[in-house]
């Protein structure tokens, strides 16, 4: 009967593991630093997580459909550089939609290759990671991009503005999360994403167009990347070519930490948001208790391993694999 009790604990931990971990973190940091739970601090964490978060929302779709997107980091650099450059050439009203279209073009290319040509998404997006980086550098000539007249434009609104006292990046993140959350959980399209990721063959046998569904997931991911690029450009009003470098792994970490399976077919937007917040609070908490900044990468890795290990322990019903 001890077995049954252990089984129950495993199930509870498995279903709510990510929440339990989240609450534990908050408690530990709150005890370690009184500033941690202050409104200002919480708001600053969410705000600084917004760019990563927006990208993670899109990647959640790709991962649930059973694929990967490792190109989002360099694609975000691309969007940022393009929108900054076009801002001075076309003005913000034209620059923003043009940048969105160009980013969607990149996403569409990936979607075509992975969806319609059935190429392996790891290979395609890993290649895209460096190809887009090359595009960005070619476009900018390797130079940093800056807006000339930083105070004479409303462009800073997205990254720096406030509505009713709430920073715009937070509002955009929440609005996009709500919209995509509903799209994924409540619409026929969302159901198809789960079906294609859960079993692509069975989905095809049910008349679900696998290729188009995957294609659309990459479009959504590109749309989110474009939004992240917009936030980044608008916050700093100038940028290096490598601003998004390495973000693809942090994004993936957040999605996995949220509990989406890399095999596809499972995960939710809410869980991804929690994954994003955990990463954000870890960084913030470590800084507050005075740990060196770079140790966060190590701690993040440990947390992900713990999360994945808990997840598979529950699936196989024991903590150790004996063979």
């Amino acid at each position: 009967m001890a077995n049954t009790a252990r089984q129950k604990i495993l199930t509870v931990v498995g279903n709510h593991g990510i929440l339990i971990a989240f609450v534990m973190f908050m408690l530990v940091f709150a005890l370690a630093s009184p500033k941690f739970l202050s409104f200002e601090n919480l708001q600053s964490v969410v705000r600084s997580s917004a760019i990563l978060g927006v990208m993670a929302l899109g990647v959640t779709f790709v991962v649930i459909s059973g694929n990967l997107d490792l190109s989002v980091g360099s694609m975000m650099s691309f969007s940022t550089i393009v929108v900054l450059d076009l801002h001075d050439k076309l003005g913000p009203t034209l620059a923003i939609p043009t940048m969105y279209l160009m980013t969607l073009g990149l996403g569409g290319t990936i979607g075509f290759l992975v969806g319609y040509l059935k190429l392996n998404s790891l290979i395609v997006t890993l290649g895209m990671l460096s190809a887009i980086h090359g595009l960005t550098l070619t476009y900018s000539g390797g130079k940093n991009m800056d807006i000339d007249d930083k105070s004479g434009t409303w462009f800073s609104f997205f990254g720096q503005g406030e509505i009713l006292g709430l920073p715009v990046p937070i509002i955009l993140f929440i609005a996009l999360a709500a919209f995509l959350g509903i799209l994924l959980a409540k619409t026929p399209f969302g159901r198809k994403v789960y079906a294609v990721g859960g079993n692509a063959t069975a989905a095809s046998f049910s008349g679900i167009p696998r290729a188009r569904t995957v294609f659309n997931c990459y479009l959504i991911s590109a749309f989110c990347v474009a939004t992240a690029g917009l936030l980044q450009a608008s916050r700093s009003m100038g940028s290096q070519n490598t601003v998004g470098q390495g973000l693809e792994l942090e994004v993936l970490a957040a999605v996995i930490l949220g509990g989406a399976s890399l095999l596809g077919g499972s995960g939710t937007i809410l869980k991804t948001v929690i994954g994003v917040l955990i990463l954000g609070f870890i960084q913030n908490g470590l800084l507050l208790i005075g740990w060196p900044f770079y140790i966060q990468y190590v701690i993040t890795w440990i947390i992900i391993i713990l999360a994945v290990w808990l997840d598979i322990s529950v699936k196989r019903g024991k903590f150790w694999a004996t063979v």
């Binding site: 026929p188 159901r191 859960g198 079993n199 989905a203 046998f205 049910s206 008349g207 679900i208 004996t322």
Partner: protein, 500 residues
């Protein structure tokens, strides 16, 4: 037959899981030199019992004896060392390695410094292969072997130890008839060497062909053991489900409607050629033939998963072109595929979502999926097909094979197709669900559907089909009506020995 000592004996085995007693005081003896069939519906406890024997589960109570010595197994390798060997239905071989490496996997003979002793390895393996009378040698790459020969490699693995008991779990599931005969010879050979054999299968004909005794489990409880020669199919079925399985001939339905689907000279590459047939509303057309005869390929072509190279398909008298499953579904053709786990279901999804998947675009309230409409549809077909599940939220992968198949059937029935194609409707399903599905197919025909049933089980096609198409190597040899068909002429037709 020397039946003096049991090779394997179970005494009072109990295994409980939260909420279920999977094994309830099971006692069983398998004599040395005996082929002992273990039967029961899915969920009766066979798999749990096997896992207990393999050391994957530890029993909550009871003792296992091998050659009358009590043993405790901690894992499958341990079980093998103690003389209990499994031949699994799903093969677990490393395809890139040689036969010999697979046979001795984990126990390769070594020389000094851990180097593999290849000479001994190949010699020992070839010795075992000779015993099995196979036509490949120890150096062959396993991936180059047929499925049947791969099964032989699994069996060779069993022979590396001094096995007291060998357990075959649905060994013939993927074998052709000729390959089955070889397997049966091997079993007879093991038997003559005094090994106790446990044979698990749903196929009655095999049970009566090769086993000496039959034991039946039902709901985790041991029912009875009987000598095979003293019993009948009906008696075993009754023990398994508590009632009879009806496999009488299909009643001829004379009340047929119009031609629902007509296929003229349809060909698809090397899979099948010049296939013509028609199915009327209210009729069940059976397709019978060996694996690879082209039956499944025809079904997949009608469902838009393959493109025909020539020929026409007429639905309600109109010629149609089907280039994707979506088109087929729109035109009113549904396919319950051959393999429900890989083709029929998204195992990680719940029951309701699986059932509504093909029509998810039509289940909308505004832009959203209508929860109410989905649940209503699921409830309707759950009741109609008697699907046993705790609720629609249950993950499909957790259901029994029979209930999974009913979900797939429900999924396609709810599309109200004109033509329903069912490929291997009862593969790997227990007897009780089998007869329910047979009944359902007859009822569907009676209510006006045109149904095509593809099956590799002769009793099944004879039972459900009004007419039977016999196929051999991509061609239709003959179409029988249920009046002129006999088992003999059907077998001849599908083996390609009948003159047309």
């Amino acid at each position: 037959m020397t039946q003096s000592t049991p090779a394997l004996r179970l005494e009072g085995i109990v295994k409980e899981f939260p909420g279920v007693k999977a094994l309830d005081n099971v006692s069983l003896s398998v004599m040395a030199g005996e082929v002992h069939a273990l039967m029961g519906e899915n969920g009766a406890g066979k798999s749990t019992l096997m896992k207990v024997l393999g050391g994957i589960y530890q029993p909550d109570a009871g003792t296992i004896f091998v050659a009358e010595t009590p043993v405790v197994m901690s894992n499958p390798l341990d079980a093998k060392k103690k003389g209990i060997v499994f031949i699994h239905q799903e093969l677990s071989l490393a395809e890139e390695l040689s036969v010999a490496e697979n046979v001795y996997l984990g126990e390769l003979p070594t020389k000094s410094m851990g180097r593999v002793d290849w000479k001994t390895l190949f010699e020992k393996t070839d010795g075992i292969l000779t015993r099995l009378k196979v036509n490949f040698d120890a150096r062959t790459r396993v991936g180059d072997l047929s499925i049947a020969n791969q099964q032989m490699v699994e069996i060779a693995r069993a022979l590396t130890v001094d096995a007291k008991a060998v357990i075959f779990d649905e060994p013939t599931a993927s074998l052709t008839d000729a390959e089955k005969l070889v397997l049966f010879e091997v079993i007879a050979d093991l038997k003559s060497q005094g090994v106790g054999i446990v044979y698990i299968s749903h196929r009655m004909e095999e049970i009566f062909k090769i086993t000496d005794r039959v034991s039946v489990l039902r709901d985790g409880q041991y029912q009875d053991s009987v000598l095979t020669k003293d019993t009948t199919e009906e008696a075993i079925t009754r023990m398994m489900i508590g009632r009879n399985l009806d496999l009488s001939r299909a009643p001829v339905n004379h009340d047929l409607g119009d031609i629902a689907i007509e296929v003229k000279d349809l060909s698809c590459g090397a899979s099948f050629h010049n296939v013509s047939f028609q199915v009327r509303c209210g009729e069940v057309l059976g397709f019978y033939g060996l694996v690879g005869a082209g039956r499944t390929e025809i079904a997949e072509t009608l469902f838009g998963l393959r493109q025909p190279s020539s020929g026409t398909i007429l639905l309600d008298g109109k010629e149609i072109v089907i280039n994707s499953p979506a088109t087929a579904i729109r035109e009113g053709i549904s396919l319950v595929p051959e393999d429900r786990k890989t083709q029929g279901l998204v195992l990680g999804m719940n029951c309701r979502d699986n059932m509504t998947l093909p029509q998810i675009d039509d289940m909308k309230a505004g832009p959203f999926v209508s929860d109410g409409a989905e649940v209503a549809l699921f409830d309707l077909y759950r009741d109609r097909l008697d699907i046993r599940t705790p609720g629609w939220r249950q993950t499909v992968g957790n259901l029994s094979g029979g209930n999974q198949q009913k979900i797939v059937i429900g999924k396609w029935l709810s599309m109200h197709p004109k033509v329903l194609i069912v490929d291997e409707p009862t593969r790997g399903i227990d007897v009780g669900s089998k007869s329910e599905i047979h009944k359902l197919i007859r009822e569907l025909a009676a209510s006006g559907y045109a149904v095509i049933v593809i099956s590799s089980e002769m009793p099944e096609v004879l039972h459900v089909a009004d007419r039977i198409v016999a196929m051999y190597s991509g061609e239709i040899i003959k179409t029988f009506t249920s009046e002129d068909v006999t088992e003999d002429n059907l077998i001849q037709a599908i083996s390609g020995i009948t003159p047309k």
